[in-house]
């Protein structure tokens, strides 16, 4: 019988020590730190442990050592396949970049019959067709769409209220399908609409071309109508009816809802979530208010500060977690996007939270007047008079638009990995760059992160998610499911 060697024979000799793999650390709370590696895997440890680790004094027999070795924070003599695995994971996270500009937003009209004070589009009243997109502009924009290399193309119709210019939607859908017969991409359509003016004819057309609907639902009727006034004061009723009609004709999962947070929403998070559940939605995106368009003009943006939104967010998140524990399948989408980055090797494509910033790279916006913007927020900024992120017009070539300094400068400067504070932040793998936001708020693509609401808010969210997972294994499981949706 041959001898079997003990475990000790396979362990790296104590004297040989270990090598550090690249990682960053940031405080989680008063006692603990979050460490993160190159691919966003994290580990929570006390400050003394971080010091021990860095000084190469962590004992190999400790649980901390084993955990850090397994999660690729350190390397020792008996294995170096960690290098190959890290490289593979880094590549996986960055793969999305090479398939750029998949999202194309067409602003087919600025007309709208609602008068939402927070509107990020400076809308025009119903009857001026000066604010409609023309077929010439649409055709040139479509040519640009198919110049993008992305294998997946999503065309989203926006406004104003896009259904008020339904013939233009049809023109663009048909133009896209014709071009796609040759280009053979994975093509999808979405209409972002308040559903107040939807008709059977429009629904039939959407059914025929597999068009998805994205609509606004701010909460229960009183809150929704207060946020979203229209003649007749019946925005909520129309939305609910519209949602049902869409489901009947297109299918139950063919409509999604988006909420906007206002000062009035801040005390009502449970009511808002309950409304979504009542209407058979399986998740909600608890969105902050962005500082663009009418929102700034009407001082709605200033009306609430960062800590009240955070309270709103975490009250909502904790309520949703409670529901999940009771067996209700309901996801908070901001959390699930971040959790994908924290818990899986994949990179969700959510444009608001990416670095390098995906302005231009992730999405392009074709305004009704032919101007082309790097993102939806860029267009909103232009409506306020700031043309910084206007890339050009539909008469420009795709390469001119994407290679212009107007795009490259903010991309390069804002790249979080090189930005001060961001470059050493443990949460950087989960965060985004958002040069448009920082330019709008601080006149600087990079932004002064210590005073940036974007930074404070995001860090509070990252800390909140990690603390919850550390405290409760059941939450860890629920979050893991969300991360892998």
């Amino acid at each position: 019988m041959s001898r079997f060697k003990p475990l000790a024979d396979y362990q790296s000799p104590l004297g040989n020590g270990y090598q550090l793999l690249p990682f960053r650390f940031t405080a989680l709370d008063g006692d603990r730190y979050v460490l993160s590696n190159m691919t966003g895997e994290y580990h929570v440890a006390s400050r003394p442990t971080v010091e021990q680790l860095t000084k190469h004094q962590l004992p190999p027999s400790s649980d901390q050592y084993r955990s850090l070795k397994s999660k690729h924070f350190l390397l020792d003599d008996d294995s170096n396949v960690a290098i190959d695995l890290l490289a593979l994971k880094v590549r996986t996270k960055l793969e999305r970049l090479s398939n750029f500009t998949g999202l194309h937003l067409f602003v087919v009209t600025l007309r709208c019959e609602h008068s939402c004070p927070y509107c990020q589009v400076s809308r025009q009243n119903d009857d001026k067709s000066d604010f409609d997109m023309t077929p010439e502009v649409a055709d040139k924009a479509l040519d640009l769409v198919f110049r993008s290399p992305s294998p997946n193309i999503k065309i989203e119709f926006q406004g104003g209220e896009p259904m008020l210019n339904f013939p233009m939607i049809q023109h663009i859908v048909e133009g896209a399908l014709a071009r796609n017969a040759v280009a053979k991409r994975n093509l999808g359509f979405v209409i972002a609409t308040n559903l107040a003016v939807v008709t059977d004819e429009i629904l039939a057309y959407c059914e025929k071309h597999f068009i998805h609907i994205s609509t606004s639902l701010d909460g229960p009727a009183d809150l929704h109508n207060r946020n979203r006034p229209r003649p007749g004061g019946d925005s909520h009723q129309r939305a609910v009816l519209g949602i049902k009609r869409v489901r009947d004709v297109l299918g139950r999962d063919q409509v999604s809802a988006v909420m906007t947070t206002t000062a009035a929403s801040l005390e009502r998070v449970r009511d808002i979530i309950d409304e979504y559940i009542a209407l058979d939605f399986h998740g909600i995106f608890l969105r902050p208010l962005s500082p663009y368009g009418f929102a700034v003009k009407t001082k709605w943006f200033a009306a609430y500060d960062r800590s009240s939104w955070l309270k709103f967010y975490f009250d909502g998140l904790d309520y949703i977690i409670e529901l999940n524990k009771r067996g209700v399948r309901f996801t908070e989408f901001l959390a699930s996007t971040i959790l994908s980055k924290m818990l899986t090797p994949f990179q969700p494509g959510f444009v608001d939270l990416m670095s390098p910033a995906v302005i231009g790279l992730g999405a392009l916006v074709y305004n009704y007047d032919g101007s082309v913007y790097a993102s939806d927020e860029s267009r909103m900024l232009a409506e306020m008079g700031d043309q910084t992120f206007r890339l050009g017009t539909v008469d420009d070539a795709y390469e001119e638009l994407l290679l212009s300094d107007k795009l490259l400068d903010p991309l390069e400067q804002s790249f979080a990995a090189s930005a001060p504070m961001c470059s050493t932040c443990a949460f950087e793998p989960y965060c985004g760059a958002d040069p448009v936001y920082h330019h709008a708020m601080q006149r600087d693509f990079v932004g002064h992160k210590p005073t940036s609401d974007f930074c404070h808010r995001n860090m509070a969210i990252f800390r909140g998610l990690i603390s919850r997972m550390e405290a409760d294994p059941e939450i860890r499981q629920i979050f893991l499911t969300w991360a892998n949706r």
């Binding site: 397994s70 396949v81 893991l480």
Partner: protein
């Protein structure tokens, strides 16, 4: 436990007998004549319908005054334990030592071909302890056997020892399966280390087998623990690199984890490691310990009552499931398996290995349970008990 091998058996050969070494069996006395020339007839009452290459005389005495064997034929006398042989089975008859081995059983749920007894790992719980012998003759036998296997067979396995030690011959065997068993899945058990050579890995993708999967054990998220369990320095790194190469070329990979005292406590960490680093594997299976081979020598270091590691197993399975990695649990008896794992528990012990214990008497879910390896009589859970009613399965 079905008898699949025998030696020192009496063989009588006709003067002109071709006596093929590898042959398919038939129990049909009206078998078409052209087929009989290369097949063996299973004779249960001493009858010998003319024209077969071999007669397998079950339960007959080998006395010289027995029935005469035709000139072109040969006969082998088998004890009653071989009565389970049936139509479509494939056997090897080694004249020299009067030996018979059953290579393939049509009625069995699982069929595996042992390609070699050599191995470059030395697992603490190896159920087929390696022998450093020249068994290259096995290759020829299997190449001959594959075309005889029933083409309706859903799946067959290659095992060992370490199949990749056959080098390019393994590829030839896979190709033989592609050619002669085009609708049969092929599951090859291997430690995966040889696939560190990217060209070797690519070669298997190039064969174009419709349904080829490599089952590769990874026992821990920590290299030193894996290397200890397989008793080979550097094995972890090579195995992981091997898996990466196979997946790079689109070959299917299953990760296998035997749960025992050395592996159970980091099972959740291993699940996380797989979900994060090897998310693209086709499935993960957690297996119970077999009480055979080296396990007996290392029992004190390996044995843990399966009831004791259910929490870790549930956590690991749940983690993989939520991470959308396909996962199964093999070789665990239902009564000692956490109910949450029942949807993942498969009835997986090969017929020739499985049995039930006295404690199983009266159990209502026997049919759905994997039962035990015969070898389990050596040691098994103290908590085996019959289940009362058919439980809810998620």
């Amino acid at each position: 436990m079905l008898t699949r091998r025998g030696t020192g058996l009496t063989i009588v050969k006709g003067s002109n007998a071709t006596a093929p070494r590898i042959l398919r069996l038939s129990g049909d006395a009206d078998r078409p004549m052209p087929l009989r020339k290369r097949e063996g007839y299973i004779s249960r009452r001493g009858e010998m319908p003319a024209g077969f290459a071999w007669y397998l005389l079950i339960g007959q005495s080998g006395e010289p005054d027995g029935p005469a064997v035709a000139a072109e034929s040969a006969a082998i006398f088998l004890p009653e334990e071989f009565a389970h042989l049936g139509d479509g089975d494939v056997v090897r008859i080694a004249e020299g030592r009067g030996g018979i081995s059953v290579l393939f059983q049509k009625a069995a749920r699982h069929n595996s071909f042992l390609l070699t007894e050599r191995c470059n790992n030395y697992c603490l719980m190896c159920s087929q302890p390696p022998r450093n012998v020249d068994d290259s003759w096995i290759y020829d036998d299997i190449m001959a056997a594959i075309p005889l296997v029933d083409t309706g067979t859903p799946e067959i396995g290659f095992t060992g020892g370490e199949p990749t030690l056959l080098g390019e011959r393994l590829g030839k065997l896979v190709h033989q399966c592609k050619s002669y068993l085009p609708r049969t899945g092929l599951h090859v058990l291997t430690n995966g280390r040889a696939f560190v050579d990217a060209n070797f890995a690519r070669g298997f993708a190039d064969i174009g087998h419709r349904d080829l999967m490599f089952g590769i054990p990874v026992y821990s998220d920590l290299s030193e623990v894996h290397d200890y369990v397989v008793q080979a320095d550097g094995a972890f790194d090579e195995t992981i690199r091997g898996i990466l190469n196979l997946k790079r070329f689109g070959v299917m990979v299953e990760i296998r984890v035997v749960v025992h005292k050395q592996t159970y406590d980091r099972l959740p960490d291993l699940a996380r490691f797989i979900a994060r680093n090897l998310t693209f594997v086709d499935q993960v299976v957690f297996m119970g310990l077999e009480m055979t081979g080296f396990t007996k020598a290392n029992l004190e270091d390996l044995w843990i009552d399966p009831v004791a590691y259910q929490p870790q197993l549930v956590e690991a399975v749940s983690y993989l499931e939520r991470s959308r990695v396909k996962v199964s649990v093999y070789n665990h008896q239902l009564c000692i398996t956490d109910k949450r794992l029942w949807p993942y528990a498969k009835r997986s012990i090969s017929d020739w290995k499985n049995e039930y214990m006295p404690e199983c008497e009266g159990c209502a879910v026997r049919q759905e349970c994997a039962g035990f390896f015969s070898s389990a009589r050596l040691r098994y859970s103290a908590h085996i008990r019959p289940m009362q009613a058919v439980p809810e399965r998620a």
